[in-house]
């Protein structure tokens, strides 16, 4: 995952490789001359489909039951109803939590993308001793259990006498978003030809103008993808927000508080379904932006 080696060759070479791949007849299975036969491939394909079903179906029960005209989440389905969605939009607390989540998510997206861009630029353009160690260090929040980060931040917030608020949640979310922003931006910056920047510098532009006139436009899809992904991470994050929320809740914290009340379950389903569909949409856009033109082989997968 932390692997971010450059894709072999320049942009044009990649493009050529992609075109070549595109020229083959669209087929999921390797052709016979590679020693495979359709019969041998079928079980793998079926497994892949089964795996996708395992990944998606459990989550799809949320939207399914959110339209069910019953407060019990059980088969058989009773009938189509938009009542729970009506409940959802008329709950004041929920709307406040939504506004909080958007505020925090927006701030986190901008902050972590800027920090990620600094790091990604340094990692891809400079030869530095200890680069591997630094990368591993910045990636650490991905592997340290959320509860450890959460209580550590809670303890230090308490010791410096800071009030728990949306700011503390935002700082915590920035911590876990920076590694993702950096990964996304590293693969983008590696994806275009470094010579373009050098040409700009050779032709007399300063480093700042080069950054704004060459690097930024070329990295733009990656930056947009990073903004969208880090926003979604913050918007959906629960564990850190749970420890660091003051009086103002974010949406996942609000959902958690509602899970205690069985009568609120259908409304929570409607809310969950809305959030899922919204996140799926944003993330799909971000993924397409991020992977297009970079090539499937290149660098980090996540």
């Amino acid at each position: 995952m932390t692997d971010t080696t450059a894709p072999g060759g320049s942009l044009t070479a990649q493009k050529a490789a992609q075109d070549q791949r595109g020229e083959e007849a669209p087929q999921y299975f390797a052709s016979k001359h590679e020693g495979y036969h359709w019969t041998a491939e079928a079980p793998m394909f079926l497994y892949a489909v089964w795996y996708l079903a395992f990944l998606y179906i459990p989550v799809l029960f949320l939207p399914l039951f959110s339209f069910n005209d019953s407060i019990y989440v059980a088969f058989p389905l009773k009938g189509f109803s938009l009542e729970w969605y009506g409940d959802m939009v008329s709950t004041q607390q929920l709307l406040e939590a939504l506004a909080n989540s958007i505020k925090v998510g927006g701030a986190v997206a901008v902050l972590s993308t800027i920090l990620g861009l600094f790091a990604a630029k340094a990692m891809t353009r400079y030869v530095m001793p200890g680069k591997g160690a630094i990368t591993a260090f910045i990636m650490l929040p991905l592997v340290v259990p959320g509860i450890i980060l959460g209580i550590s931040l809670l303890v230090i917030t308490n010791m410096v006498g800071m009030e728990l608020s949306l700011y503390t949640i935002g700082l915590a979310h920035t911590l876990v978003s920076v590694p993702f922003a950096m990964l996304v931006l590293i693969s983008r910056l590696e994806g275009f030809d470094k010579n373009l920047e050098e040409a700009s510098l050779d032709l007399g532009e300063g480093p700042f103008r080069t950054f704004f006139r060459v690097t930024l436009p070329l990295a733009w899809p990656g930056i947009l993808a990073s903004l969208l992904l880090t926003f979604t991470i913050s918007f959906d994050e629960f564990i850190l927000a749970f420890f660091l929320a003051g009086n103002e809740a974010t949406l996942p914290v609000y959902i958690w508080s509602q899970l205690r009340f069985p009568s609120r379950l259908p409304m929570v389903l409607a809310l969950g379904a809305t959030i899922l569909i919204f996140s799926f949409f944003i993330v799909t856009v971000a993924e397409v932006l991020r992977r297009r033109g970079v090539g499937p082989q290149s660098g980090s997968a996540i």
Binding site: A74, G116, T232, V288
Partner: protein, 312 residues
């Protein structure tokens, strides 16, 4: 140039400003790594402030004690003694590690064929497959876990579905609120973490190695175990760590689907910062969990890399 001249003329005494700027500039131009680290410094500073410093404070906190509502700041090992005196804590940590290992194992076994399929069998539309497996990874962890509560519940999807088609008369009790439900839910929630690193390591394998193995007479299964599997091990190891480390200390999943028997160490830590309100003890417990994880990770990495060195 003016700047160079002023730099040359100054030999001792007060350093004039242009010379200082010149020297700093020269330092920057001469050493690439200084420029790199300067660019990196804002990010590093934020990471240190938000991660190293808080974790350091957490460790410090674990040597203090809770004195009713106040914190007694004299250094003591009382919290660690409390840990070793109560067998329940040790047992819970062991149980959490067992459950998490089981979950990691299941996740990797399930993910490997999928990663293999995308890396080797999908020729076109690779992007679509990659996006399909990545998207759930970015969406709400809480909601993915919550979905399983809905599915496995007493009056949940599985039970009511089986009753309405007439397969069972009474709801099955054993679905929810046990360790198996926790492992299943975790394996689902962390699936994407396992697929992606394995996929990357498979994708990087030079295809000519596989051709060479076939040409030299390996059967497909020999070729897999002698070429593909060893070369994909870094991805498998990364996947193992990425799933194992966060799941050991998880408290959301056990809380929602674990019931009393599915409880994990994360729940105890969380309660010290909630109802039980003994922050120093909670801090000590999390330090112990961190040390356990670090120990296991080192053991895991050492054994796997040594195994690879031997087989090579």
């Amino acid at each position: 140039m003016a700047v160079t001249d002023s730099a040359r003329t100054v030999t001792h005494g007060d350093v004039p400003l242009p010379s200082l700027i010149f020297r700093v500039n020269a330092l920057f131009l001469r050493h690439e790594w200084i420029r790199g680290y300067t660019l990196l410094s804002p990010t590093l500073l934020v990471m240190v402030m938000l991660m190293c410093l808080p974790v350091f404070m957490l460790v410090t906190y674990s040597f203090w004690t809770q004195n009713y509502l106040d914190i007694d700041r004299t250094f003591t090992l009382a919290n660690y003694e409390a840990f070793f005196q109560k067998p329940i804590y040790v047992a819970l940590i062991m149980k959490s590690i067992r459950m998490s290992l089981f979950c990691t194992f299941a996740t990797i076994i399930l993910a490997y064929p999928m990663a293999y399929f995308i890396a080797f069998k999908v020729k076109s539309n690779k992007l679509v497959w990659l996006i399909l497996i990545t998207v759930p990874f970015w969406t709400s962890y809480l909601l993915r876990v919550f979905a399983w509560k809905v599915i496995l519940g007493y009056n949940g999807v599985v039970n009511s579905g089986l009753i309405s088609v007439g397969l069972i008369d009474e709801p099955l009790q054993f679905l929810l609120y046990n360790p198996t439900a926790v492992v299943l839910t975790l394996a689902h929630a962390w699936a994407a973490f396992a697929i992606l690193p394995i996929y990357v390591s498979l994708e990087k394998i030079d295809r000519s190695y596989l051709e060479a193995a076939t040409d030299l007479g390996d059967t497909p299964s020999e070729r897999f175990w002698r070429v593909t599997w060893p070369l994909s091990l870094p991805g498998v190891i990364a996947a193992g760590l990425l799933v194992f480390i966060p799941t050991v200390a998880d408290y959301v999943t056990p809380r929602l689907v674990g019931g009393t028997t599915g409880i994990m160490i994360g729940n105890i830590i969380q309660s010290q910062f909630g109802k039980a309100n003994n922050w120093p003890l909670g801090a000590a417990l999390s330090v112990i969990v961190m040390l356990m994880i670090a120990f296991l990770v080192v053991v895991f990495i050492v054994t796997t890399t040594r195994g690879r060195a031997k087989s090579a």
